[in-house]
């Protein structure tokens, strides 16, 4: 295998001339469109060694950010693409003598209908990320929850004071949890009225004083992004302690899962 016998694949997209001009990817490598004649499709790629990119956490974080920048730039130019996850490589096949570009082209031809279908489904749409949390202290107003003998702690031993504090915290958690469940159902239903798809995702940022309400990726038409913002503003109005993180828009990473996950074979 030579040093550049594989292709690092960033995304699949309609073959538009010039869409990748001037765009760089991992470690500043220039990316290009590898068109597949007769399909109208192309892959956003750069040449690579047939081995996954490996490194420390900081280095991988930088690579992922570089990949994301490249994909986003091309996505903004083209309007729709299927982004790949980190480290998707297609290697040459020495047995058949096919180059990496031929292998990738053959696969795209085989999957042409499903790729085209998915591209159409995601065209004109973006992904938004929403994370909603409740500040427990704000929910209970900073006062002890009913039934918590907070004032009884005076004169108790340190161990008993600790246990009473734990009990108070548990009740606050319970109260916030019940409110979070009710809010989750309402907000999710309202989001589904303006988003085409909602997929739950783990919280990326949550402090020990917060209870999670909803963390999800939304597939949204570009023209409906403001409507999502309006739903979230409405949810926050009059609800002290409700924290909302609203990120995006970016390419629909969370919704491009077919057919890439089922068929792509990293080198």
């Amino acid at each position: 295998m030579t040093e550049h016998s594989a292709l690092y694949v960033y995304a699949l997209l309609p073959d538009r001339q010039g869409a990748a001009d001037g765009v760089t990817g991992l470690d500043g490598r220039p990316v290009r469109l590898a068109g597949v004649p007769g399909t109208g499709l192309a892959a956003l790629v750069h040449d690579a060694a047939p081995a996954p990119f490996q490194g420390g956490d900081d280095e991988v974080r930088r690579w992922v950010a570089e990949q994301s920048r490249a994909v986003t730039t091309v996505w903004e130019r083209v309007g729709g693409l299927l982004p790949m996850t980190f480290n998707v490589l297609v290697a040459a096949d020495p047995e058949s003598g096919r180059s990496a570009e031929q292998c990738l082209g053959d696969w795209i031809r085989e999957e042409h209908d499903s790729i085209t279908g998915r591209l159409e489904a995601l065209s004109g749409r973006c992904e938004l990320r929403v994370e909603i949390t409740l500040d427990r202290a704000a929910v209970t107003g900073g006062d002890p929850v009913d039934g918590t003998p907070a004032d009884d702690a005076d004169g108790r031993s340190p161990g008993m004071r600790r246990l009473l504090a734990k009990q108070r915290e548990q009740r606050e958690r319970h109260t916030a949890g019940e409110l979070a469940d009710a809010l989750h159902a309402t907000i999710r239903r309202r989001l589904l009225a303006v988003a085409e798809d909602v997929r739950d995702r783990a919280f990326t940022r949550r402090t020990a004083d917060e209870t999670g309400v909803l963390s999800a990726a939304l597939l949204v038409r570009h023209e409906d992004v403001d409507a999502v913002g309006a739903v979230l503003s409405e949810a926050r109005a009059g609800r002290p302690g409700l924290g909302i993180r609203f990120l995006g828009p970016w390419p629909p990473y969370s919704f491009a899962d077919s057919p890439q996950e089922e068929h792509a074979e990293p080198a």
Binding site: R156, L163, G212
Partner: protein, 104 residues
């Protein structure tokens, strides 16, 4: 592919996991103790003794975390465990998620 193991990192990882699990047990002990105290199973002296013993355990755990520099990793693991539990509970009570998982 060769697996490279950093012994120090492995030790910290295992220790963080053990301490996190002890903390989970500790929380169960705290809840059980409160239940006993609230239920009147213990007289005031017994209750104070139990509460102080749990405080000592708590202080010992904090000391171990400080000594081994695993305060943050235990907090991360604990949060991760909470998320796993949330996810499992959500799947159990929300049948729509089964279909989503099966479809992937």
């Amino acid at each position: 592919m060769p697996l490279t193991v950093d012994e120090k990192s492995l030790k910290h990882g295992v220790l963080s996991l053990v301490v996190t699990l002890v903390e989970v047990i500790q929380e169960a002990l705290d809840r059980q103790a409160m239940r006993r105290i609230d239920g009147g199973d213990l007289n005031p002296e017994e209750a104070e003794r139990l509460a102080d013993a749990l405080l000592e355990l708590d202080e010992a755990m904090e000391q171990i975390k400080e000594d081994h520099g695993i305060v943050d990793s235990v907090a991360d693991l604990h949060r991760g465990l909470d998320d796993v539990v949330d996810d499992v509970v959500d799947k159990l009570i929300n049948p729509r998620r089964w279909a989503e998982e099966a479809g992937r």
